[in-house]
């Protein structure tokens, strides 16, 4: 750029010649130069501002237009998106631990009527009553003609029934599509699954809500639309459950019991592999809860969870475990079993009037199941510590499991835990608890002393519970329980290959009058862990009022009732769970007769 000189020589000379001040010319030129400079930079700034304004305008326009179009248009799913994760059913399936279906949904139709559209209400009512035996033609006709505009006729229809209703040909009868809950296995695992009912009902859909068992307890999980395509996996194994129910049912019939229950549990994780309660029901057609005097006669009653029973001698192992843990006894310590023995004025007797002589070792007290021996051990421990220990095993709390009914099954025991309570609790009387709690407590002994929380949901990760007894004590307890099976009251449970260890319990039921016990009505329990060398499973079998009639006189001790049933269950499920039989000389010999004792 050619720079304009501030003092152009020509003009300076000219001005000098005219006698003017040449400095004026310089100032003039300087001012002109500054003006030009100012104009240039203003123009540049203007250009930049306009560009910036344009940018802002363009971006605001784009955003504004997009917002406007989003606000004004109706929302639609992008139809071209892949349809892989579409929700297929409104309620999640329930499957067993290997994915076999326990509960699923099925499309069905509800039948409703709009009486204004009915051509011949009387004929429609008569025809419907002919199809559905539970309906009354007069009743239907009254509902069709009393002026209402909408009548629910039936909640679910089978395809055949739907066809028959079609054939009535009345335009006032309508079908509403809906999903219903289906339990393809019928009565199997009925008490675990519970049941469902229709909640809010619409013409084109109906809400399915759980009314009992797992369906009710897991209602939030099952009805969560985000999780409806992933099934709820239970810890239950369908095959094991079926086997346990089959054997238990056969045992119940053979032994004339009015009820039975069994629980099979993994000792490490607390996962319940099978849980049965008989008599049972069909969850597809769950009846209403009948308000009878004795709830336990109702098929809907879950004996394994809801039932709280005095479990008798199965509790003796807890007294022994605690005494050993406290260092009070060893398996070889001699315990006083002399009769008569009175506590606070009450005589403590052995079952069936037996007498075991002056002393027995702790191991023998368990093997022959001596009440007096257990009572002495209980007194050594003391009431306060005993109650604390039973609480730490979870025996005095309602069972912790994912079932609606569990919360109501509170354990029963004498409120001030006095001396007599201490003594009776040592051999399982005066304390009533749920079978599930017993299973969890035996699992604690079986897994080496860590507390077990039972669960019905399958998971790959399990946290180990707090330690309740030492590993050495737990091992010694299992060894003692193994002796019960090899030499004691439960010899029928000596299943070859599976090293069953367990403890029998025969508890007479309290009389209905509330005073004393009924000799003819017993609850027989066999609580077992197997295999004894490395316990993996706990099996609890309970029979309600069983009696063994094969021999010359009726037998009511657990050794002749619950034990053979449990043995058959173990014999059947052992191969199913893949336990390798442990071949030992003793196991191959035939079972001996049990010590005729409880």
């Amino acid at each position: 750029m050619i720079r304009t000189p501030l003092r152009p020589l020509a003009r300076i000379l000219d001005a000098r010649a005219k006698g003017q001040n040449p400095d004026v010319i310089e100032k003039e030129n300087l001012a002109a130069r500054n003006d030009a400079l100012r104009d240039r930079s203003r123009a540049r700034a203007e250009k930049r501002l306009i560009l910036l304004a344009l940018c802002f305008f363009a971006s605001f326009t784009v955003i504004g237009t997009r917002m406007g179009s989003l606000a004004a248009s109706t929302p639609t799913e992008p139809r071209s998106a892949a349809g892989g994760s579409e929700i297929s059913a409104q309620r999640g399936d329930i499957v067993d631990r290997s994915g076999r279906i326990l509960a699923t949904n099925m499309l069905t139709y509800a039948l409703y009527a709009q009486p204004r559209d009915l051509v011949d209400p009387a004929h429609a009512a008569a025809a419907l009553a002919a199809i559905f035996p539970e309906m009354n033609a007069n009743d239907l006709l009254r509902r069709f003609t009393d002026g209402r505009s909408f009548v629910w006729v039936r909640k679910v229809l089978s395809p055949e029934q739907k066809q028959m209703v079609h054939e009535i040909g009345d335009p006032g009868l309508y079908f509403g599509q809906r999903e219903m809950r289906l339990y393809p296995n019928g009565n199997l695992a009925a008490h675990i699954l519970g049941g469902t009912a229709f909640g809010a009902e619409g013409v084109n859909s109906a809400q399915v809500i759980g009314t009992a068992g797992l369906e009710a307890a897991q209602q939030a999980r099952l009805s969560d639309p985000a999780q409806s395509s992933t099934p709820l996996t239970l810890s239950i194994d369908l095959t094991l459950q079926a086997t346990v129910e089959e054997v238990l049912s056969a045992g119940m019939t053979t032994l004339h019991a009015k009820g039975a229950a069994a629980i099979l549990m993994d000792v490490h994780s607390g996962e319940v592999l099978a849980m049965a309660s008989l008599p049972d029901f069909d969850p597809n057609d769950r009846g209403a809860v009948v308000a009878t005097h004795d709830q336990s006669d109702n098929p809907l009653f879950n004996r394994a969870v809801q039932g709280v029973y005095e479990l008798g001698s199965t509790f003796k192992i807890f007294a022994v475990a605690q005494a050993m843990d406290l260092g009070l006894v060893t398996p070889d310590t001699q315990i006083d079993t002399a009769q008569p023995f009175r506590v606070a004025g009450y005589p403590i007797n052995e079952f069936d009037g037996h007498n075991y002589g002056p002393t027995k070792s702790v191991s023998d007290v368990i093997a022959v199941s001596s009440n007096i021996g257990a009572a002495h051990i209980g007194l050594m421990i003391g009431g306060e510590r005993q109650k604390q220990f039973l609480t730490s095993l979870g025996l005095l709390d309602p069972p912790q499991i994912e079932l609606l009914e569990a919360h109501s099954a509170a354990a029963q025991f004498q409120a001030p835990w006095g001396e007599i309570a201490t003594v009776t609790a040592s051999y399982g009387h005066g304390v009533a608890t749920s079978l599930l709690n017993l299973a969890a407590a035996y699992a604690t002994i079986g897994n080496g002393g860590s507390k077990v929380t039972p669960t019905l949901l399958h998971s790959d990760h399990h946290t180990q519970g707090p330690r309740v007894i030492t590993e050495a004590t737990a091992r010694a307890c299992v060894t003692m329980m193994r002796r019960v099976v090899t030499d004691g009251t439960a010899t029928f449970a000596n299943v070859p290959g599976y090293q069953v260890a367990g403890k029998t319990g025969t508890a007479e039921k309290p009389k209905k009058t509330g005073r004393g016990y009924d000799k003819e009505k017993v609850i027989n329990t066999f609580a077992s862990v197997f295999p004894a060398s490395d316990p993996q499973y706990v099996l609890i079998v309970t029979l309600d009022e069983p009696v063994e009639m094969a021999g010359p006189k009726p037998l009511r001790t657990a050794g002749y009732t619950a034990v053979p049933v449990a043995a058959e269950i173990i014999r059947r499920i052992g191969p199913l769970v893949g336990l390798r039989p442990i071949i030992e000389d003793a196991a191959l010999t035939a079972p001996k007769q049990p010590v005729a004792q409880e």
Binding site: I101, N185, P496
Partner: protein
Amino acid sequence: MRALLSTLSFIAVMALAFWAYRENYATQTQLKEMAKVQDQIAALRDEIAMQKAEWAYLNRPTRLRDLAAMNFDRLGLMPMAPLQLASVADVAQPVAQSLMMAGTDQSDGVLAPLLVGSEGAQIP
């Protein structure tokens, strides 16, 4: 030159317009197709759920047990027993072959203890 350029660009615009028109309709057809397929998928999924329920119903343990009992003559199915399980070491080895090989250059006296150990193996 200018005429040629504008002619060319006019042709290009027309071609693009034609292409856009066709693409628009092709897309709409595809979307309709997709909607139809998705309806089919939904229907099939319902059917699969139904089939699964039916499969579970037909395979319910009580039914299988009854079928096994009904066909006992032909199948002879029994519940598994503990002693049916064994380790590989318990499986009897084919003794006969090793006997023939051993028998060629060894006396019967040496063979005898070998035979006692395996159940049911007899020297012919």
